[in-house]
Symmetry: C2
Subunit: 78 residues, 2 copies
DNA sequence: TGTTCTAAACGCATATATGCGTTATTTTTA
DNA sequence: TAAAAATAACGCATATATGCGTTTAGAACA
C-alpha cells in the first residue's frame, strides 16, 4: 500500500474493527477462529497495513455477530 | 475467486452498486472517471467477478456521493 | 446501413491481499 | 519477578485485485 489516502482509510477501518472486537471481548485469536481466517490477517487489518477485501470484512462481520454496514461505519481522520 | 460464498457476495455487491449507479444516472465510464479508477474495474465489480477492496469501494462511494455504509447495504441471495 | 453509446470480455503486467508459518515484543496476570 | 496470554512483526508462496489497454457485442438512433 503506497497511497496515503488508502493508508488512512485502512488505519481508520482497523481501529474501528479493533474497537468492535474489544466490545465483544474477543481476542484476535478468537475472532480469527470464528471468522475462519488467519490471525495474522486480523492483526494486519487492525494495524491498518492492508486494504481488506469485502469478503474478508464480511466474515469478520459475521464473526462479530454484526453486519457489513456496522463494520464500515467509521470516520476517517484527516 | 474460487469460493462459492465469495462469488455470491461479490454478485450481490455488484448488483447493488449497479443499482446505485443507475439511480444516479451515471454510465460505468462516468463513475469510473469520478472515482478515478479504470472502467474495467467498475465492470468487473458490477459483474461480481472480483472481491473489491475497501479502498476501491470507498472511492466508488465518494463518486456516487454517498458513503461506504450505503455501498455495502445489500442482501445476499441464498 | 452506418454511427454512437454502453457494457462485456478479453489479455497482460504489477501490486498486494491472503494463507500459513515462526519468532519477538508487549501486556496481563499469578 | 516469572509465567502466560495477546499482539506485533517477520518471511514466504500463492491467489487475486488493480491498472491499462484492445476487441467484441448489443442497443439506440440517425
Amino acid at each position: 500500500m503506497i497511497n496515503v489516502k488508502n493508508k488512512k482509510l485502512a488505519a481508520a477501518l482497523g481501529e474501528h474493527i479493533r474497537s468492535l472486537r474489544l466490545q465483544k471481548e474477543l481476542s484476535q485469536e478468537q475472532l480469527a477462529y470464528e471468522a475462519d481466517i488467519p490471525i495474522s490477517q486480523i492483526g494486519r487489518i487492525e494495524r491498518g497495513e492492508i486494504n481488506a477485501t469485502v469478503s474478508t470484512l464480511f466474515v469478520i462481520a459475521e464473526a462479530l455477530k454484526t453486519d457489513l454496514k456496522t463494520v464500515v461505519d467509521f470516520k476517517i481522520k484527516k
